[in-house]
């Protein structure tokens, strides 16, 4: 089995799912991305990414509560699986390891 990788956007969405916990569904993730890092993303892109990661086994989904705001439609609530958490963890460790290898970061203006 070849090693799975996560794309940048996938990683972003996965992190948001982890962050939002019980309340992780399409719109919430779009809002959260906009709020936390100021990036406007399209709803459909988030959906497609979520489904793709579901295929890969990093997130799982179940239908949540309906509301009037949604024309009576239920939400699909996503949650991070163990494999997903593992992936995030690995990614973070890799980053840190790489950062530690960068020789003294100094800003030239000092």
């Amino acid at each position: 089995m070849k090693k799975e990788y996560l794309g940048e956007f996938e990683e972003l969405v996965l992190t948001m799912v982890a962050l939002l916990g019980e309340n992780a569904y399409g719109n919430a993730i779009v809002d959260e991305i906009s709020e936390k890092i100021g990036r406007e993303v399209n709803l459909s892109a988030v959906h497609v990414t979520l489904y793709r990661m579901e295929d890969k086994g990093y997130v799982s989904s179940e239908m949540g509560g309906a509301s009037n705001m949604r024309g009576g439609r239920r939400k699909r609530i996503f949650s991070v699986t163990n494999a997903g958490l593992q992936m995030l963890q690995t990614l973070k460790e890799q980053r840190q390891e790489l950062w530690s290898l960068i020789p003294d970061l100094k800003f030239s203006s000092i």
Binding site: N42, V48, R52, M69
Partner: protein, 885 residues
């Protein structure tokens, strides 16, 4: 507060059911939040945008993917298809090659037809541009007597004032004229038009005044080619140009350079000048006013929503009023010919005129042939796939036992065919790209390879049709076979199948028909080009006389030129004529009769020794003499026949307006001056036009005025180069710096039938092409049959059969099939060819031997193909064949 229902429905429609609910919910929620922030309109727009953003493969194909395309099976099928292609290289190659060639042929014809259809459509609002044409109909029977594309000079001006729904109208006449560059003079195609011309036609103006570039007689618009020729790289706008129109040297200022859009334009030009110059071209005042004499064309532009049929009636009435037509005259009906019909010949309009025209018959033949080529390639394809799949019968048997549905096996076949067809399509596209210049050369076309949507659509449709038809038929043949017998190997693989025999017969029918068609076509063409025209065309030279002189001066110039040539021992005789053999439409005179009927006779003005120079044969009477008065005329056999004269000598052309007597002094044997498609028309030859002109009531002409335009020189055979130099020297001595143009009449006639020759060679190529593809199929088929019977042949050989016997064994069945095919093809081909030949006034007979020969030729080729393949078997040791397993 709810979002528009249709958008929600739209999402519901494309979204897989499992996802629909949450997607719609999310979209809904976002919409409501948008509405708090934005206007209703903007929210709706954002919602729609969202709906479209969700319309993407990641959503569309999710979950439903397994039903839509089975990716796993697709991979395996693809692999199998490629493996099969590699395993049966020979058949795949023939399949791809045959298909690629046929698709390429289809593409070339596609480009050709596209170009023909798009002719003249580059003009803005080209649907509302028309040429004004006249139909002559009998008053009593309403029978169509003739068409005419020319009108009188006054018509356009009168109509402009009379009928407000004509937005723009222009007269148009063109001819070759002289343009001076320093001391040199060149012949160019000069077009005379009204200023409105540029409001009707939108030839792209490359440089200079874009709007109304031609305001008055001192201006000119030229083509880029002319700009380069006369002004080089300098800016031509505002420069002076010296043009000789008629007898007058005119200097005009270039106001614009317009592109004649060569590849799509039927009205070519080099230089366009104002119609006022007509005065210099035509001296007789009577021509410029009045309605009897038609010599120029009229084009008009209407409002886009104009009712054309109604306007035609109004025009017909107005015309009758202008021309003062009486109850006795033939009906003249004005018809408006859309400019899209200029290029294609159509039965509804006359074909002569300023516009380049084009016989669509040959295009239909080409389209038919390209369809035939494709059908043959598809037949090959089906025969090969179905027969060759018998090799794979075990594969299919096993797959069926393992639970494959028929549908899945068909899908695999379709995929295999599709791969081959797409490969063929790609090859065809590339080949077409490289072959277009060759084709342009062959067909004298100006096609460009453009990757347009239409082209892609065409090729996709072509490939789909080919793939679907061939995979349907071949899967029908293969999958009908019983699974058990396939696995047991008891299936008679070499055996006959009705479907296959039928296809072989169809294929051979096409081949025999094609061969017959090609032979007859070739025979007819060589018959036409070798048929005696009634004059001696060899060693005959035409030299164009000066165009810038009026009648008397031109005759004088000709005399001096002739005297100069007299001393040359190589020149047998020199004559002068108004109309040459290169002109298809000779000037036709109309004479009104006492009973108010009209007599139409072709006219030519000649010098007294014309007949002897041309080698024309006199049937009765005598030739012109140098000391004859202009009274003497000679008529042709057809005229005598048409008038029903017993003894025409001393008679007159009947006509109520004749006063002075002219006299028929001789009858010349019919010679062909128009085209071999038509019978020889009645003709008058005269040395002086005055005696004929007085009885004249109408002219339809593209050669005018009646004066000598061409010298005809008969020379002795041999030393052609030396003669050409002599004639040129004589010209320079007498005509000084005027351009010199000489042509052998033989070359002119070749030029005249060039289009036909060109098509004949194109059709030959096409036929050869389809025969080659058919032969490829035959080769593969016989190879297949032989391979199937490899073992059987080995045994026969061991038991003492000769190689020839073996060949005969295989060939026997094919000979039978070809026999049936010949019987089928003969009546079909006979009927089609008879139809085509009926167009010609002079035609070859259809010899039954041709059909027999074609059948035998196909049998011969089949025999050779089988022999080559069988020899391989004969040459190897039979034990090898028997050992094989």
């Amino acid at each position: 507060m709810e979002p528009p229902k249709w958008i929600i429905k739209f999402i519901n429609f494309y979204c897989p059911p499992r996802l629909a609910e949450s997607v719609i919910g999310d979209v809904w929620e976002q919409y409501l939040r948008d509405k708090e922030r934005f206007s209703k309109f903007k929210s709706n727009r954002r919602l729609l945008w969202n709906a479209f953003r969700f319309f993407r493969p990641g959503i569309l194909l999710r979950n439903s993917k397994t039903q839509l395309i089975n990716t796993a099976m697709l991979r395996i099928n693809l692999l199998l298809a490629l493996r099969n292609m590699r395993k049966y290289k020979f058949y795949s190659l023939i399949n791809i090659l045959g298909l690629a060639m046929s698709i390429m042929f289809g593409l070339l014809v596609f480009f050709y037809v596209q170009n023909a259809i798009q002719h003249d459509s580059f003009h803005e609002e080209h649907e509302s541009i028309f040429r004004l044409t006249k139909q002559y109909r009998s008053r009593e029977t309403n029978e169509l007597l003739s068409w005419n594309n020319t009108t009188g000079n006054q018509l356009a001006t009168d109509l402009r004032n009379e009928i407000p729904s004509i937005k723009h109208i222009t007269r148009l006449i063109s001819g070759s004229g002289y343009v001076k560059k320093g001391s040199e003079t060149f012949t160019e195609k000069i077009m005379l038009v009204d200023p409105d011309f540029f409001n009707i036609f939108s030839f792209p103006i490359i440089e200079g005044t874009k709007k109304d570039p031609l305001m008055n007689a001192s201006q000119a618009v030229i083509s880029p080619e002319m700009a380069e020729k006369y002004f080089g790289i300098a800016d031509p706008i505002g420069k002076q140009m010296e043009i000789i129109v008629g007898n007058d040297l005119q200097s005009v200022i270039v106001t614009a350079v317009a592109d004649p859009v060569e590849e799509l334009n039927s009205l070519p030009f080099d230089v366009i000048i104002h119609i006022d110059h007509l005065k210099s071209l035509i001296q007789s005042e009577g021509f410029l006013i009045g309605y009897d004499v038609s010599f120029l064309e009229t084009y008009l532009k209407l409002n886009p929503d104009e009712n054309v049929a109604a306007l035609e009636q109004v025009l017909t009435k107005t015309y009758a009023r202008f021309a003062q037509l009486t109850e006795e005259d033939d009906k003249k009906i004005i018809k408006l010919q859309p400019i899209s019909k200029l290029y294609w010949w159509s039965n509804k309009f006359a074909q002569d005129g300023e516009a380049i025209t084009y016989n669509p018959d040959y295009v239909y033949i080409l389209i038919g042939l390209s369809l035939l080529v494709i059908v043959i390639a598809v037949l090959n394809f089906i025969m090969l796939t179905s027969s060759q799949s018998l090799n794979r019968i075990k594969e299919f048997g096993i797959r069926k036992t393992m639970g494959a549905f028929k549908r899945q096996l068909s899908a695999q076949l379709l995929l295999e065919v599709l791969i081959l067809a797409m490969a063929a399509g790609a090859i065809a596209l590339v080949a077409t790209y490289y072959l277009i210049p060759v084709f342009n050369n062959l067909a004298n076309a100006k096609l460009n390879f453009r990757l347009t949507g239409e082209l892609i659509g065409f090729i996709v449709i072509l490939i789909s049709i080919i793939s679907i038809i061939s995979s349907l038929i071949s899967s029908g043949v293969i999958l009908r076979l019983k699974t058990t017998s396939a696995l047991k190997g008891t299936l008679n693989v070499g055996g006959s199948s009705l479907t296959r025999n039928l296809m072989v017969i169809i294929q051979f029918t096409f081949c025999v028909g094609l061969i017959v068609g090609t032979i007859v076509f070739k025979n007819q063409m060589s018959y036409v080009s070798n048929k005696s025209l009634g004059f001696e065309k060899d060693q005959l030279i035409e030299v164009e006389l000066p165009k810038n002189m009026e009648g008397k001066a031109a005759a004088k110039a000709y005399e001096i030129f002739r005297n100069e040539l007299k001393s040359n021992p190589d020149v047998v005789s020199t004559a002068a004529t108004m109309t040459t053999m290169s002109v298809v439409h000779w000037t036709v005179f109309t004479f009104d009769q006492e009973d108010d009927s009209q007599l139409k006779i072709t006219f030519n003005l000649v010098s007294p020794n014309y007949l002897s120079t041309m080698g024309l044969e006199l049937l009765s009477g005598r030739d012109f003499r140098e000391d004859d008065t202009g009274k003497a005329i000679i008529v042709n056999e057809s005229l005598v026949k048409e008038m029903g004269w017993e003894d025409p000598l001393g008679m007159q052309i009947p006509g109520k307006d004749f006063n002075r007597s002219h006299e028929i002094i001789g009858v010349v044997k019919d010679f062909n001056f128009n085209s071999l498609h038509t019978e020889v028309a009645p003709l008058i030859l005269a040395t002086d036009v005055d005696y004929i002109m007085e009885g004249l009531t109408g002219i339809s002409s593209y050669v005018w005025p009646p004066q000598f335009f061409t010298a005809v020189i008969k020379v002795v055979p041999g030393n052609a180069g030396h003669i050409a130099e002599d004639i040129h020297a004589a010209w320079q001595k007498t005509m000084s710096d005027l351009p010199f143009e000489m042509k052998y009449v033989n070359d002119i006639l070749n030029e005249k039938y060039k289009e036909e020759k060109r098509y004949s060679s194109m059709i030959n190529y096409a036929a050869g092409f389809s025969l080659f593809i058919a032969w490829l199929g035959l080769l593969a088929l016989t190879r297949l049959v032989i391979q199937k019977r490899f073992k059987e042949m080995g045994i026969r050989k061991v038991l003492g059969s000769s190689s020839f016997n073996i060949i005969l064994l295989v060939a026997r069945k094919f000979v039978l099939l070809i026999g049936v095919a010949t019987l089928l093809a003969s009546p079909l081909a006979w009927w089609l060819l008879q139809d085509w030949l009926s167009d010609f006034a002079y035609k070859v007979d259809l010899n039954p031997l041709i059909f027999l020969f074609s059948g035998l030729a196909v049998i011969g080729v089949t025999f050779i193909s089988i022999s080559i393949q069988s020899l391989k078997i004969s040459s190897i040791n039979p034990s090898e064949a028997l050992r094989m397993e």
